[in-house]
Symmetry: C2
Amino acid sequence: MTDRVRGPIVWFTGRPAAGKSTLATALRPALEARWPVEILDGDEVREWLSDELGYSRADRDRNIARIARVACLLARNGVAVLVAAVSPYAAARAQARALATSQAIPFFEVFVSASPALLIQRDPKGMYRQAQVGQIPNFTGVSDPYEEPKEPELVIHTDTEPVAASAGHVVTGLRARGLI
Amino acid sequence: MTDRVRGPIVWFTGRPAAGKSTLATALRPALEARWPVEILDGDEVREWLSDELGYSRADRDRNIARIARVACLLARNGVAVLVAAVSPYAAARAQARALATSQAIPFFEVFVSASPALLIQRDPKGMYRQAQVGQIPNFTGVSDPYEEPKEPELVIHTDTEPVAASAGHVVTGLRARGLI
């Protein structure tokens, strides 16, 4: 396995509705010019990878650990993997990074940032509103913590620029590291 | 994704201790000449993919469905995937095959056969003995069913030939389908 080319893992973390999946989808074509690409979207992946897990910290960590394992299986075989998952706990993200790094897989963490107040105001799926009235328990940003990354490779402010501009920043960051 | 070369999934099914993992390991070098290879071993995979699942039929099926999803993610990106898992229920194996086929991934099912009486006699890890006295519940072949494949691509009799010979049969079968 040691002589295989590794693909990068681009890990998008951020509060619900911050724009992680949208950004991953927008980034995809730029990566496809060089790599086969897979997107592991937190919501979709839960349906088949962790359908029995809830949203306690232990279950969230377990879900993120599984995503990290699948991402590394792909990346170490030359696939670029875009992970779009809230991944609210810094320790779980650090473990994902450590697992990748131990296999010589480039790990590029993107903090998809948007003002919590604005997210609550936008609330495209009505989830924040439901969480605020207690209809969704353990909702990140309302009744569950989100630990902002302290040293991500990149911070993207989706509340102040269009998605194409954000994708452009990620491309620039990946190019600077020779990953695109 | 449509233009990517697919790797094959070689799915080893059989009773506990029939020799699935041993055969997958023996087969690996022959495949590595052409493909990057990953082995998804049922026992190992459970530790990170399905650690909360038990051995009821529902949990077994869920575990096999997850393995199939991960195998397909890899195979559709050009990785040859060797799955070594008891996978006792025909329906779950059929679903794995259907998922692969729907993505144009070659699926090669190998029934690793050994006489139940001989397996109980050998019992390398003492599991059959524990199952017979009720210390391991839901043990395939003792207190849980094993549905033998009716139309696998290949049947291997590990109780009557050495592992190198068995691996040779699999290589011949894969070569005949242009997969090696």
